[in-house]
Amino acid sequence: MKRLYLPLILFLLLVLEGVALELLPGNLLTSDLLIVPHWVLIFLVFIAIFYDKDQTYFSVLYALLFGLLIDIVYTDVLGVYMFSYALIIYAVHGFKKLLHGNIYVAMLLGVCGIALADVSIHLIYTVIGKTDMVWKAYLMHRMLPTIGSNLVFLLMLYPIVVKKLTTWGREQLTKSNTI
């Protein structure tokens, strides 16, 4: 039963992303700023840092799965989020072996992850012609507001989930036959 918690939380975040823009005030939506919620990615970063052990790759697996779900539900181009999220989470998983898991590391890896994932999504969408934003405009109007707003979400989520994730991660280690 406990193994179902992570996918359920990720699914909830995925659903919430769809209504997230309705919560923002209307003049922010019509302005030039493009704020994109990457909540699923933030939770995946937490999973990679606090839940996964060095030799388990649950976070990458979930990144593939929920990236694909985002692609299916919210965009009509399959594979973009899936590939970007999985690659970024794999990198985060590699980095956390070198760093101790605390809030500063989570913030650092979270911000880098969001920035890289968003750049990679922008790159792919530019290549397939879904967007034609200039890099400078992209940086000012999309990347910085996106990182800022997602960082706020990361700081809000951190105290709620981290302790739970660490305990679940430890339980997972004691019953080592989980997969």
Partner: protein, 300 residues
């Protein structure tokens, strides 16, 4: 160790090939969604339905408070308008009767009318968090008669078209996400003949910089467009019915070659604040027509 590294590289390369194949598959012009996509869309749509209710409640309350502030002024304006409408109703009634008489004399059938459509009421469940992809999800799908390419409107005007329909949900591409592959045949109604005839053109996409639709005027018309004129769909494209309000002309500019004119059209409907939408179903009368044709053939 080197084997491990090779294995990792191998997986990455296979993943990359898979990724390119997946993008290629989804960029293809495909008519229907795969079963997996339909299932995922419906499952997420169901969960969104649950989440949507409380969030809608909260945003409604905030919206109501804002509305209260404007109520007094709005009420005054509305009362003035109401007085005008009373006169208009009589006028419309007379015009309707006249139209019917003229149609009867011309021997036109009701289902020849390109204005007719069946409305399907729907609620907007969610909006794509990816801001470059302008699409929303509505809670009606192919089980309710929604099909791809149907126009979607609010009371203010057209907001987009159905991109893909799953059994219980469907995704709607908004006007702000239209490109040169999604054109709408539009016109500016002038109500006269000869020099005063309607101006036809095509909505050719959305210009993100000026935040307006690009309306290219097909024929060189004698009279210039003026700011504030209403652009409506003409129904000539065969996909959308005629008479849907698209927007108002904001600015008229010559196109890049200086041969034709392009009008920048501000969409009439608000794409960011909508809850109830109407899916415009034109297919009913098409079915009727084909039925009649088949019965005629059988009769022969």
């Amino acid at each position: 160790m080197s084997f491990l590294r090779k294995k990792r590289l191998f997986i990455l390369l296979i993943g990359f090939i898979f990724f390119v194949a997946l993008i290629g598959f989804s960029l293809r012009d495909r008519e229907n969604l795969t079963n997996v996509e339909e299932f995922v869309n419906d499952t997420v749509g169901w969960a969104q339905g649950i989440i949507h209710a409380p969030i809608n409640f909260i945003t409604d309350i905030i919206g109501n408070i804002d509305d209260f502030k404007d109520t007094y002024n709005e009420n005054r304006i509305l009362k003035e308008k109401l007085a005008e409408y009373k006169g208009l109703i009589y006028e419309v009634q007379e015009l309707k009767e006249e139209n019917e008489d003229l149609r009867n004399t011309l021997d036109l059938k009701d289902d020849d009318n390109i204005r007719d459509y069946t409305p399907i009421q729907a609620t907007v469940m969610s909006r794509s968090p990816e801001r470059w992809i302008e699409q929303v999800t509505i809670n009606k799908g192919s089980n309710d008669g929604v099909e791809a390419n149907m126009a979607v409107r609010t009371p203010e005007g057209m907001i987009g078209k159905v991109l893909k329909a799953s059994p219980n949900t469907s995704t709607v591409q908004l006007l702000t996400g239209f490109d040169q592959f999604n054109r709408i045949s539009g016109k500016v109604s002038r109500g006269g003949k000869g020099k005063d005839k309607d101006i036809f053109g095509m909505i050719e996409g959305f210009d993100k910089e000026s935040k307006s639709l690009v309306f290219r005027i097909i024929e060189e018309s004698e009279k210039d467009l003026k700011e504030g004129e209403l652009v409506i769909s003409s129904g000539m494209g065969g996909v959308f019915p005629s008479g849907l309000v698209i927007g108002t002309v904001k600015e008229v500019v010559p196109d890049q070659y200086g041969l034709t004119k392009t009008a920048l059209v501000e969409p009439a409907a608000n794409m960011y604040d909508m809850n109830q939408v109407i899916v415009v179903d034109r297919s009913v009368q098409e079915d009727l027509k084909t039925d009649e044709e088949t019965t005629e053939e059988e009769g022969e």
